[in-house]
């Protein structure tokens, strides 16, 4: 097991030039029978633990070693359409620490994917970051040119996309696709890159020789594993998973989530998991950020937010999910539909659908306030509030103890 290589060192002794990697053995004598989880487990077992935040690469020159890993402040990403400007992300701030897993949740159109794509600036051509900063170790990525960004994509931040079938090149062997960023970004020789691609495939539970397969020859789960291997190609500090398990069967989903978790702990990765499925976040993340219509509704530790949701939207969303491990219950309906982001409501964007809405909600944008480490943007929690709602919500709303105010 030679993974992980020492970054920056390209001495020939790391990959002995005469030894052909195993994947070239014909009618292989040593064909590994195990694959999937067992292989990933065995490979991970053999690796030394890497503490969270241990750098694989020299810090970028302008980096501040004391800065948090990733700080996003007041991010605004807008799309220009013929019919107007869509404020897909409209003032989003959050922080990601070393070794942490942050889940971004919300329904379609809430801006969670746009937020993720903004982080690495791979937005569609009609989208633009109009305001805000994305500071990776203190370096603002928003200000970087395309060329300068190359230093950060793959090596610092990489993405696992949802549809592995669409994200992988159908006419290139999986191994070669994984090797490509290694040669391109790290300047490794093609041979060394292929060797490392093989190591990575084993790490995610794909037998090395299966790397010769084309994407269509792999099953859905295997393709998603290959996508993860590719995201790890340049040993990044942050991996973003954009609905990485959405199209998969529940058992395969469990396998992939288990793999991501093992990789995170073993490699000291930080993870941003974007999904519409709060259940997945509950099981894999440390913190959760619930988005609604381009803004943050609530953000905090998974334990706190799931056990004591404060924002009415979080409450409704949580009770719209079936819980197989609890009693059968009727699911909540959230009446109405999300607002048109070309012309969002002036106050709280959830107000038109909110059962606890007050007069102020449709006029004033609620400020984000923090209680017990949970950030919530809702008028129920006023300036002097201690984290309990200041008004009595209607009986069918879900809330903790309340104090009557007009």
């Amino acid at each position: 097991m030679t993974f992980p290589p020492i970054p920056g060192s390209k001495q020939p002794d790391i990959t002995p030039p005469d030894v052909e990697p195993e994947e070239f053995t014909e009618d292989g004598e040593v064909i590994e029978e195990i694959e999937g989880q067992a292989l990933a487990e065995a490979t991970l077992e053999a690796l030394p633990d890497r503490p969270a935040g241990r750098r694989q690469w020299a810090l970028p020159k302008q980096a501040d070693p004391n800065a948090p890993l990733l700080v996003v402040e007041n991010l605004r990403t807008h799309f220009s359409l013929a019919s107007g400007t869509v404020k897909a992300v409209d003032g989003v701030s959050f922080q990601l620490n070393h070794g942490e897993a942050l889940g971004i949740a919300g329904e379609s159109g809430c801006g969670k994917t746009t937020t993720a794509l903004s982080l690495v600036r791979i937005l569609p051509s009609n989208a633009q970051i109009v305001d805000g900063s994305i500071k990776l170790m203190g370096i603002d990525l928003v200000q970087k040119t395309e060329t300068q960004l190359k230093r950060y994509r793959w090596r610092e931040i990489s993405i696992v996309f949802q549809g592995a079938m669409n994200a992988l090149n159908p006419v290139q062997r999986v191994r070669d696709q994984i090797a490509e960023p290694i040669t391109e970004r790290l300047g490794e020789s093609p041979k060394a890159a292929r060797k490392r691609a093989g190591d990575l495939l084993e790490l995610v539970g794909i037998p090395r020789k299966r790397g010769r397969a084309y994407p269509h020859e792999l099953s859905g789960g295997m393709r998603q594993r290959a996508m993860i291997a590719m995201a790890l190609a340049c040993d990044p500090a942050v991996v973003i998973g954009d609905e990485p398990t959405t199209a998969l069967d529940v058992m395969v989903q469990a396998q992939i989530l288990e793999l991501l978790e093992a990789l995170r702990h073993k490699l000291g990765l930080s993870l941003i998991l974007i999904t519409h499925d709060l259940s997945v976040i509950a099981e894999t993340c440390d913190r959760v950020m619930v988005m609604y219509a381009g803004r943050i509704a609530e953000e905090g530790s998974v334990q706190e937010v799931f056990r004591r949701p404060r924002h009415p939207y979080t409450q409704k969303l949580l009770s719209a999910f079936p819980n197989i491990h609890a009693d059968r219950r009727t699911l909540e309906v959230i009446p109405g539909s999300p607002p048109d982001l070309r012309n969002p409501p002036p106050g709280c964007r959830f107000a038109p659908r909110c059962a606890s809405a007050m007069a102020v909600c449709s006029e004033v944008v609620p400020e984000e306030r923090t209680y017990d480490g949970v950030r919530v943007a809702c008028h129920l929690y006023g300036p002097d509030s201690d984290g309990t709602p200041v008004t009595t919500p209607p009986p069918n709303a879900i809330g903790v103890t309340t104090t009557e105010v007009s």
Partner: protein
């Protein structure tokens, strides 16, 4: 590997929602049998290419549905749950007569309908049994107005006068929650949201006034909040119109919320079937147990609860290469010798629950608990 424990604090994630859970299947009186599938088989031949086609050569057989017995009772919601390739969709298609079975028999309302295939014969049948597809974006014709889509089955079947047809279209749309219907009649699918489209699809099924609706993943393309509205609509329609549903889904949690009974399929066979409460709370087949254990819940795990998950290795084999004996045995954590040789039938384990597992066999099972591997390994009979 017996009953998965329910954490005592499992209800914490349920923030005050009233626990007016859907009635237990035992409470909801089971109606008369409306569908009965007996030893149903759907095998697809694998042909390599044009030459094979010409010479009718067969290179193998995909056993999509491989001998299932299933009854559907009037007024119930039966969820057919399985991973991709389990044969759940094929079973649904046989019921609505879109796929021809290769073996077995289908009875509908006391009549053998296995050989009902001519368009004329199917007309009456299709009025009574309707299908809802998964993807509302694909189901609707982008060039057809909502009115034309919903009215089409009436026109094709020559039902009623033009006036009666209009009235039925309006009623179906309003029943499907598109009120007032006049706002929607002349619109095109692209003018509607995803949830509204699926309502149109439901209206298209309702307009025939069917008795049975086969719903194939009707909500899996939709957002959670919209999903709930549609599930509620479907359950309300059951009350109002006395509908019977075969609800096909890959999501066990969803089945848990809406179904009276759950049937779990794996590689073309039913592994376990019974009242939802029993199948989820005390699953007897190791496959069901594993599925329940990995189904995520919106409830962060507390220390130690993580260990209870049983993640099966590998993926479902393809239906052209079904393992010998119990088809689940290569992935089964509790498999023993007999499992690789002999296929277990569905054993009755009480309370209307049946499990296809040797561990559930009345002689072997002890006090309703699966035996540990060692003591159960009595060898093949």
């Amino acid at each position: 590997m017996a009953e998965p424990d329910v954490p005592a604090d499992a209800t914490v994630a349920e923030p005050g929602a009233p626990a007016d859970a859907p009635a237990d299947a035992n409470v909801a009186e089971p109606g008369a049998e409306i569908f009965r599938l007996t030893d149903l088989e759907v095998h697809f031949p694998i042909r390599g290419g044009a030459i094979d086609q010409i010479f009718r050569r067969v290179r193998g057989v995909v056993r999509a549905v491989d001998g299932i017995d299933l009854t559907l009772r009037r007024g119930e919601v039966l969820a057919l749950v399985g991973e991709s390739g389990s044969g759940k969709t094929t079973t649904g298609r046989v019921i609505v007569k879109l796929t021809r079975q290769t073996g077995g028999r289908v009875d509908f309302d006391g009549r053998d309908v296995s050989d009902l295939w001519s368009t004329k014969q199917l007309k009456g049948y299709r009025r009574r049994v309707q299908l809802i597809f998964q993807d509302p974006y694909e189901t609707l014709n982008p060039k057809q107005t909502i009115h034309d889509f919903v009215a089409e089955p009436l026109e094709v079947n020559g039902i009623g006068t033009a006036q009666e047809r209009e009235a039925r279209v309006v009623r179906a749309l309003e029943d499907a929650g598109l009120r007032p219907a006049s706002d929607f009649l002349l619109r095109f699918p692209h003018e509607l949201s995803g949830g509204q489209r699926q309502r149109v699809v439901i209206a298209g099924a309702l307009v025939m006034d069917p008795e049975v609706i086969v719903a194939d993943e009707p909500v899996s393309m939709l957002d959670v909040s919209i999903r709930t509205e549609l599930l509620r609509l479907m359950l309300d329609l059951r009350e109002e119109r006395g509908l019977t549903y075969l609800f096909i889904t890959h999501d066990l949690s969803l089945a848990w919320v809406i179904a009276d009974r759950i049937a779990v399929m794996y590689l073309g066979k039913i592994m376990e079937i019974g009242p939802a409460e029993r199948v989820i709370r005390s699953p007897r087949n190791p496959y069901t147990q594993a599925l329940v254990s990995v189904s995520p819940a919106p409830d962060p795990p507390t220390a130690g609860s993580r260990a209870k998950r049983t993640i099966l290795a590998g993926e479902t084999p393809d239906a052209a290469h079904i393992p010998s004996g119990c088809r689940f045995h290569p992935r089964c954590p509790s498999a023993f010798d007999r499992c690789s040789v002999e296929e277990p039938p569905l054993f009755d384990v009480g309370g209307g629950q049946q499990a296809a597992c040797w561990l559930a066999e009345p002689d072997v099972a002890d006090g309703g608990r699966a035996l540990p591997m060692a003591s159960a390994a009595s060898g093949p009979a």
